[in-house]
Amino acid sequence: MTATASPTSPAPTRTPLSATAIRELTMPAMLIAIWILFAVLSPAFLSPRNLSMLMIELSVTATLAVGVLLVLLPGHTDLSVGAGAGLLGGIASVLIFKHSWPAPAALALSLSVGVALYCGMGWFIVKNRIQAFIITLGGMLAFKGAFWLVIQSTTIPVVRGGEQNLYSALTTFYLPPTVGLALAAGVIAALAVLAIRSRKRRQSVGAHVPSFEEAYLKTFVAGQAILLVVLVCNQYQGVPLAFLILCAVAAVVHVLTQHTPFGRYLYAIGGNEEAAVVSGVPTKKVVIVAFTLLGSIVAITGFMATAYAGASTTTVGDLMELDAIAACVIGGTSLKGGRGTVLGALFGALIMASLLNGMTLLAVSPELKFIVRGVVLAFAVWMDVKLGRR
């Protein structure tokens, strides 16, 4: 009975805006603070070379975070993604290095293994109503063992003797500067066209449209950001391929979660599963599909992480599941489900990746690195709760 308006009153306010605005600004503020700190402590942090490396590291963490978001939204979780990434990267390495498969075929087979494994896990969780935490914990252990079996607990390079292949290119290929700029221009133009079309469409049916200035400003800022990223990358070797992969995955998941019935259903299941069932949402199917999509993203992450390490070794993928979940949570995702966005997860991943990169640059001891990451995670969530998530 709280927020009803009398029918005569116009609709001046939506829900409390100031609190949400502050909350949305804390993450960027935190990120900028971290960057300033590192830039002061180590001038090399903002060097083009380091920023380029940071982008590749970000690509690995953030791609996985965006995938994990898909199962966090409907209120599930996945602890197996780190071990899964190691395993799938390992399978591709072994096929290439030991069995001389062409890289595209090896990657494609490994990707399908990932899809099958996660589809199976999702099916098992849904059909038997077992908590995802338990099943994926089992998955984590089993995948880890399978991974070490596959690579015989040795080191398997992603490419034979110093050559180049699609696999190694994932983290070593850069777009030539002019191509990068052209791509940026194309993306900005596409964003502008989409914004204008959606405005016209909404106007034509008489729906509420934000003011033109607001819409223009949003597109303008997005365009500036894209351009800035490309210009910084071009200072070094160009836009890394890994970053393009991240952008593609993030764009797909963003559209899926925000603009498709499937996405609505993810939020509906996480928010109130019983109500979702009664509303006719195919809850089981949706969760299985979410896990299946996650499987393909785990494979892609595994390829990038393995390529970045240069070879498949027993430590690839270690603790990546926790980084991915932490990134989502820092980005405002609820572990109970029903709340979270791709943009938030990307921000969270950027904070985690920046921390790790900066501390490595400063030669911080591994012990301290763990402690700092843990404290930042707890702090970020505490801030979020404090700032009016209730």
């Binding site: 009803t4 308006a5 009398s6 009153s9 049916v205 603009h259 509906a268 509303s279 006719g280």
Partner: protein, 517 residues
């Protein structure tokens, strides 16, 4: 003591409480005297819940203007806990019991009898049993709350509040989920409490009950206009007039002139169990539902009314025997998604649990079941979706600033409109309404009834479950009374009267009622 002269135990002076864009309470003054039952009535959105939340510290001191006094002293509650310490206990519509704990554990939760640092379990159970016996409630304190019916839970909740020795009791719609017999128990308990000097604020939409039990009645309208009456000096129509600010003549405006068409749903000898290892809850149930009619389904709590609807909709139970035909084709193994596609939709009785996504905006909720028609090439066309939502939002006259307001902040009646709107957007041919007017006010009830008339006029069929017999008799074209999972009797309008319906619900009717072992 004489309530009319003694100083108030709880007093609100010129309370004003604003939410963004809305003034929920505007200089409301209210007082509660010791040893009285003071009813609080008003339409949904009138500000009753806001008043209660302000009085009990949920809206903390500082978030409102005006003054609250307890026993003549100014009170500044910042949490519910503060209010409880001052002797207030609030029993909400949404129950606050821990399902996995026993009745005794719940009664003493946060207040456990101790022996040294340890909980004295023996004392807990003994005291719980004594409390329950004192109020003549037949519930075993050992039983898990999960295994109780809604009505029994409500009684446990009340006993829990009394276990805290509260002197001021606030009950928000305590009888909304209770069966007739349980209401009796509750009213008796309240009278006993009154005799012992406990003061009680009683919020209810059931005006008959209010008239029967309250000493004074306060009617709140639009958060500002407030009038208090001595119960003896006011009649129900006056109360209604004050609530809505206009006179409502017809309480149940069923239009029985709609032509009845084809059979849309046919149920034969249905037998259903909760799961494969439990005994059947529904047995030998048969009935037809035809286009253009309202089939009423009645029965006592636990008779299987909701279960029957939920099963036919595909959200409950395992079918052991029987045949169901939906739109002239067999419907052996329904699930909600199929049912909706085949034109059968359900509005459940527990709207917060099964009906709504409270954190999500109104628009999200309205279109959740009907995304396919607004989806183009796999993408939701948000412009068209908004258009469709807005149309329904306007047609149902949902009182809210706009489509992007979270449903959780709406009043009960407006939430119910959203649930019904979601169901109607699926373009159904049969609509199941399970207690569609529970906990909503007179004006909103009338709108629901008019909606039912409109649906049947369009050739749709409505199946209406209600525990209020007047509503059932007023709105149905035919009534099936259930008794312990079986059909206790079927009635046509000329046979409608409270006694025979109740007799059928209790398994004591003549026509076609199977005997009970």
């Amino acid at each position: 003591m004489n309530p009319a002269t003694s100083a108030p135990v709880l007093e609100a002076r010129k309370l004003t409480k604003c939410f963004p864009g809305v003034i929920a309470l505007n200089e409301v003054t209210f007082d509660l005297r010791p040893g009285e039952i003071h009813a609080l009535c008003g339409e949904n959105g009138a500000g009753k819940s806001t008043l209660i939340k302000t009085l009990s510290g949920i809206h903390p001191f500082g978030s409102y203007e005006g003054e609250i006094r307890v026993n003549g002293q100014p009170a500044q509650f910042t949490t519910l806990k503060d209010a409880e310490a001052a002797g207030l206990a609030v029993i909400y519509q949404e129950l606050a019991l821990v399902e996995e704990m026993s009745v005794a554990e719940n009664i003493f939760l946060g207040n456990e009898p101790r022996r040294g640092p340890w909980i004295d379990w023996d004392a807990s159970y003994a005291q719980a049993a004594r409390l329950l016996a004192q109020f003549q409630i037949q519930i075993d304190p050992d039983v898990k709350v999960r295994d109780l019916g809604v009505g029994q839970k409500q009684l446990v909740e009340i006993v829990k509040a009394l276990g805290k020795k509260s002197r001021i009791l606030i009950l928000d719609e305590p009888t909304a989920a209770l069966a007739e017999s349980e209401v009796e128990i509750l009213l008796r308990i309240l009278r006993d409490l009154r005799a012992s000097g406990v003061a009680c604020i009683y919020i209810s939409h059931k005006l008959g009950e209010v008239k029967a039990i309250a000493d004074r009645i306060t009617v709140l309208r639009d958060g500002s206009s407030i009038s208090t009456f001595d119960t003896a000096s006011v009649e129900i129509p006056d109360i209604i007039r004050h609530m809505v600010g206009r006179e409502i003549k017809e309480l149940f405006p069923r239009d029985r002139n709609t032509p009845v068409g084809d059979t849309l749903l046919s149920v034969r000898n249905l037998e259903v169990a909760p799961d494969s290892s439990s005994p059947s809850r529904l047995r030998d149930v048969s009935f037809d539902v035809r286009a253009g009619e309202v089939l009423g389904i009645g029965g006592l709590m636990g008779a299987g009314r909701s279960e029957l609807l939920l099963h036919l909709f595909g959200a409950w139970g395992e079918r052991r025997a029987g045949e169901v035909q939906l739109a002239a084709t067999a419907d052996p193994n329904p699930d909600p998604q199929d049912s909706i596609q085949r034109g059968l939709v359900m509005v459940t009785d527990d709207r917060k649990r099964f009906g709504l996504h409270l954190d999500q905006p109104i628009g999200f909720n309205l279109s959740l079941s009907s995304l396919a028609p607004v989806t183009h090439l796999g993408l939701v066309d948000e412009a068209r979706e908004t258009q469709v939502n807005q149309k329904l939002f306007d047609a149902l006259r949902v009182k809210a600033p706009g489509l992007d307001v979270p449903v959780g902040g709406l009043s009960g009646g407006n939430q119910q409109k959203v649930v019904i709107g979601k169901a109607l957007m699926t373009q159904p041919r049969i609509v199941f309404l399970d207690e569609p007017t529970r906990g909503i006010d007179v004006g909103a009830k009338l709108e629901v009834y008019q909606l039912i008339n409109r649906l049947t006029a369009e050739g749709k069929a409505v199946v209406l479950v209600s525990s209020e017999l007047p509503e059932l008799m007023g709105m149905s074209d035919r009534i099936v009374m259930l008794h312990e999972g079986q059909v206790g009797g079927t009635f046509l309008p000329e046979e409608f009267n409270q006694e025979s319906l109740l007799a059928a619900a209790m398994g004591r009717s003549k026509p076609s009622a199977p005997t009970n072992p």
